[in-house]
Amino acid sequence: MDMITIPAVNFTPILPEIFLSVLAMVLLLINVFIPGDRKAYLGYLSFVGIVAAGVLVAAGWGGHIESFSGSVVLDNFATFFKMIFLVSAGLAVLISDQYMEREGCNHGELYPLILFTVVGMMLMASGTDLMTIFLGLEVMSVALYVLAGFNRKNPKSNEAGLKYFLLGCFSTGFLLYGMALTYGATGTTRIAKIAAVVGQMSLPSANIMLVAGMLLMLTGFAFKIAAAPFHMWTPDVYEGAPTPMTAFMSAGPKAAGFAAALRIFLVALPTLQVEWSQVLWVLAVLTMTVGNITALRQDNIKRMLAYSSIAHAGYALVGFTAGNGTGTAGILFYMLSYAFMNIGAFAIIILVGKKGESNGNVQDFAGFGVKHPVLAVAMSIFLFSLAGMPPTAGFIGKFYLFSGAIQQGYIWLAIIGVLNSAASVYYYLRVMVFMYMKDPTEEFDWMQVTAPMALCVAISVIGSLIPGIIPSLILQFAQQAIKLI
């Protein structure tokens, strides 16, 4: 009897994924076997686990290992993105306990779900096969649907979960159909092989099935990164979901969408760059403009940041449209900085907020600068960074994104981007006007800054400032990361 030959499998590329999966399962069991209402220790355990996974990921820097017959790869690109996911998950875990305790939904399942989300995102970043990427996307999405509806006693959270689930499934359909058509046109799902087959076509843009597949995949990813006009779900989901999860969702999964899309479009379909960059051009302009203009009118600060997160996806799409070294390195740089500044801002929102998601309007920040000067300075740094002012990380990130576009000759795209960025200053600074120039109407005496909260704010401040002051520190890694694609 002949044995089936099992290909040699190297587990090194997915070591962090395995570690986090096992940790998540252990936490799930700890949660049911150890009674008690306080679940903070699960948060501490998962934070330690995330840091350990970060060490594992960092140890793989500089390597290039393919495994599982070339469907998973360990390269600098994957490693950089894995770091972004771990940063956003780690910061989200830090701010979760206090919020969940306050809102009365401190269920221990939160932390395993976050870890499973990270596993899915990591598979998306390291997958070099359309099926692996899809699998990662599903692992990430299914856990995220639950996280969005985690506060099940709150109707808004329920709405968020259901809406995210329905539209997420819908968009997954687009993505999968696109992958199926791409497979039909090229006969393979391996990204490197797709590139080889498409490269041999005499006129790939005349291959209707391939172009349709590419556009459907683009649509699927546009849903996931909340690019206009596929952004309709974002404000409701971001507003309804528990605030720490909103912070997490707008940083980690968005970066994961970019990771997978960058790999597919830059590695598998570079011969169609003229075609897809035209579509991305329109998407980028729409996304920036719709996000910023709608954010101008929001009073609810969570909703405002939801629209601002749409706008930020638009800025990153500018770099994607350029598709050159500067632009793509800019995306990596920007996604990492965005994780810090965005989750930092959400941490302050959680601190200011009261039970039942109340006290979340811009007006509620009146006099915050007088009552809590340190936290107000931190919030100002996050807002400055989001608005893209020097010397913050947001400025440098936008600088590289837009200069990438200019290098490729997309002058108008860069101009629209800068104009948008200028418009966004209004709604970011509006919060600061309330913080510093209005008299306090409240004493903010309900606020309690716990140690994890303080740690999250401190890390976020460092993360939004250091890359802005010493850009080369992060940028050199980003540039090495994109060398392989």
Partner: protein, 118 residues
């Protein structure tokens, strides 16, 4: 290249056409005789009790969901069992990991009390 998909297109057209034609034709030329007994909901031949749109306990859905989860486990065991000797030690370890993952889920469900009816 696209021509290779012509049979599939034909199949889709025939399938949709057959469904449409049989529905339209039976409503056009089929005899229509109504009686009280014929229009009443079918309840296994017994006299109908209550309406057909009752609310079910959510527990049924939970059980159904768990059934599907563990059903899929069993489905995966079949191909493995058929190729057991060819897969050898590797297959055994892989399947062991798969079962352990599902077992963790089973313990979780059990301890959460999802298997208790009351």
């Amino acid at each position: 290249m696209l021509g290779a998909y012509l049979p599939i297109l034909l199949l889709v057209i025939v399938a949709i056409g057959f469904g449409l034609v049989s529905l339209v034709m039976s409503s056009l030329i089929g005899p229509k005789k109504f009686s009280v007994l014929k229009m009443s909901p079918y309840e296994s031949g017994c006299e109908p009790v209550g309406t057909g749109q009752e609310r079910f306990s959510i527990k049924f859905y939970l059980i159904a969901m768990l059934f599907i989860l563990f059903d899929i486990e069993a489905v995966f065991l079949y191909p493995w069992a058929i190729l057991y000797k060819k897969l050898g030690m590797f297959g055994l370890i892989e399947m062991g990991i798969f079962i352990v993952i599902l077992f963790v889920g089973y313990i979780y469900v059990w301890k959460k009390g999802a298997l208790e009816w009351e």
